[in-house]
């Protein structure tokens, strides 16, 4: 047995250049992400004030050492509200991204595996969802459930599974022709086992890569809904809601809307930098 054990990992062969340029953005992205997420997670510990504590005597104070991001029209500390807001946003965004993911992947896998009528029903349902402008679809759901955190979350989940289904379906069409899927049938495995145990682990990679992009989209969507008054309701601290509440004071107290908005942008950029790196590293393997 002189022929054994070739140990070559697929990643080893990828161009060193893309790895190096990727490293910088991963470094920056994950640094920012970790700092922001840690601050948000530790909000109750590090926030200098309670997020809803009123202090009319210091209303509309500009940024200072006492109030890093100033105060709003009723004297609440914007920095504290931003910390709590990021905390809420991150938690909700993870939920509305990673709940639809397995649902969509499973539906897509089933569609791709069986084809025919099953495929048509699932694919057309996904098409219908994707054909709606996402925001309009979510607003329609919110109109039914009523504005609020749950309404917005359900809306995003209802619209979110379709892209994963489409992605998983197209990969399943390729996977279905691979010999190991044929082998599962030759070995007498059930369809459920072939799909769940053998196809899904191969499909998940691309969906996880895509979910890194999806997180950013959902983050902006959730903040956008709250900004429009359809998502998180005041006085709960949430980035979009804070920006909305600062809008009337944009000329007199620019910090209320601008600084939370800036945090949102930085958070989005950090997540997509990390997401891109994940995509570069794992996105194209598995073919």
């Amino acid at each position: 047995m002189a022929t054994d054990s070739v140990q070559l990992l697929p990643g080893d062969l990828q161009g060193a250049r893309s790895v190096r340029s990727g490293l910088l953005s991963v470094g920056i992205g994950s640094f920012l992400l970790v700092v922001i997420a840690a601050a948000a997670f530790l909000a109750p510990v590090i926030a200098p004030y309670a997020p809803n504590k009123l202090d009319i005597t210091h209303a509309l104070a500009s940024p200072s050492w006492a109030h890093l991001m100033g105060t709003d029209e009723v004297g609440r500390d914007v920095f504290s509200r931003v910390l709590y807001g990021v905390r809420l946003d991150l938690a909700v965004v993870l939920l509305v991204t990673y709940v639809p993911l397995p649902i969509g992947v499973l539906l897509g896998a089933i569609a791709g595996y069986f084809g025919g009528v099953t495929d048509m029903v699932i694919s057309r349902a996904a098409d219908v969802v994707i054909a709606f402008p996402f925001l309009v679809l979510v607003i329609a759901v919110v109109a039914i459930t009523g504005p609020g955190l749950w309404g917005a979350s359900i809306g995003i989940i209802v619209g979110g599974w379709a892209m994963y289904a489409r992605l998983a379906r197209s990969e399943m069409l390729v996977l279905r022709e691979r010999q190991f899927m044929l082998a599962t049938r030759a070995l007498g495995y059930s369809h459920a086992r072939a799909i769940v145990r053998h196809a899904l682990p191969n499909l998940l990679r691309s969906s996880i890569v895509f979910s890194a992009v999806d997180v950013v989209i959902n983050l902006l969507l959730l903040a956008g809904l709250s900004f429009l008054g359809l998502g998180v309701q005041p006085p709960t601290a949430e980035l979009g809601a804070i920006v909305a509440s600062g809008q009337p004071y944009l000329l007199t107290a620019w910090w209320i809307a601008t600084l939370p908005g800036l945090v949102l942008v930085v958070l989005g950029v950090a997540v997509s930098m990390v997401g891109d790196a994940i995509g570069d590293r794992w996105g194209d393997v598995g073919s």
Partner: protein
């Protein structure tokens, strides 16, 4: 004692596998493609049948029909497949699954893609054991390691924890064999199991196949386009051309006295071991012409356009096999051959 033996020979026990008049049609972009055109085959308990032919001759389709593992575009239009008395074409989903799981094992051509790339080799093998033998997870893992050892994988403990990409092609094919024979099937279908491997590994895998066959007493159908491999491994040989079986018989007979002109051409195109006597003889013989276009076959014998013995009657023959010797059948009614070198 002697009388009993005679009785078994006289009554000729029913073959393990019987294929009658199999006809398989593919839906193609432009019309229908008949890939298998009335194949008759039988395999007795413990026997090894070699299925030879060039690409597109219908070998693989015939083999996959036995466990009904055809692409969705293919239909078995006519024919009957009897495995141990069961009509395979009439089986429901459950019956088919248990046939595939326990009675018939399958090894595919390409060991690089037949294992799930994201699961450990031992786990995949253990999964087969769990499902098809009803073992618990722990028992199955132990059995899987035993099985890896049995098919000649060194340090099976360690390799069971490897992923497929960490194994060589030969080792992966060994794992496939271990999976295929896990439930001790009575029939093993091997679809070009060595084609994707290099020559030394090929020899090792064939030796493994011989050993497993002997130990388990299972019948085997070996598909190959390599006449050397078939000669080494098989009791009987069936030669396919354009969806027909053109010649069938004991391996020794086929190689010594090939009757069908296509078989003769195939055998002549194998390089000999003896060096040629003169430079003129150094040319390998080839079969002239192109492989047949399945969508546009001539009437009668599909080999006629390339046949050196072609004559007026070739367009009228119906390709049924005719007896040309003891258990030796050929589809050509005209050519009978004496020995070829």
């Amino acid at each position: 004692m002697g009388a009993e033996v005679d009785a078994t020979i006289g009554s000729e026990p029913r073959p393990l596998l019987e294929i009658r008049g199999l006809r398989v049609v593919f839906a193609a972009r432009r019309g229908r493609l008949t890939v298998v055109r009335g194949v008759d085959l039988e395999v007795r308990e413990g026997e090894t049948l070699g299925l030879v032919g060039e690409s597109g001759s219908g070998k693989t389709t015939t083999l996959r029909s036995i466990i009904r593992l055809l692409p969705s575009t293919a239909t078995i239009e006519r024919g009957d497949i009897l495995f141990d008395g069961t009509h395979v074409l009439a089986l429901g989903p459950q019956g088919l699954r248990s046939l595939r799981a326990r009675a018939i094992g399958t090894v595919f051509q390409d060991p690089y893609s037949t294992l799930n790339p994201v699961a450990r080799v031992g786990r995949q093998l253990a999964e087969t054991m769990e499902l098809n033998l009803g073992l618990t997870r722990r028992e199955a893992w132990a059995r899987a390691i035993e099985a890896l050892d049995h098919v000649g994988i060194p340090s099976p403990d360690r390799h069971a924890r490897s992923y497929p990409h960490e194994l060589s092609g030969g080792m992966r094919q060994r794992v496939m064999f271990a999976m295929a024979i896990a439930a001790r099937p009575r029939l093993l279908l091997a679809d070009e199991p060595t084609t994707a491997l290099d020559v030394t590994t090929q020899a090792q895998i064939l030796a493994l196949l011989v050993r497993l066959r002997r130990e388990n007493g299972m019948a085997t159908i070996l598909v190959s386009h390599d006449l050397g491999v078939i000669a080494q491994m098989c009791d009987t040989v069936a030669v396919m051309y354009a969806g027909f079986i053109v010649e069938r018989g004991p391996a020794r007979e086929i190689y010594r006295r090939p009757h069908h002109p296509y078989t003769q051409g195939l055998l002549r195109s194998i390089p000999g071991i003896v060096p040629p006597a003169s430079p003129d003889e150094a040319h390998l013989s080839t079969i002239p012409g192109q492989p047949p276009n399945l969508q546009n076959l001539p009437a009668g014998c599909p080999f006629a356009p390339r046949c050196p013995h072609v004559r007026a009657g070739c367009g009228e023959i119906d390709m049924t096999l005719q007896r040309a010797g003891d258990a030796h059948m050929t589809a050509c009614p005209f050519v009978r051959s004496s020995d070829v070198a």
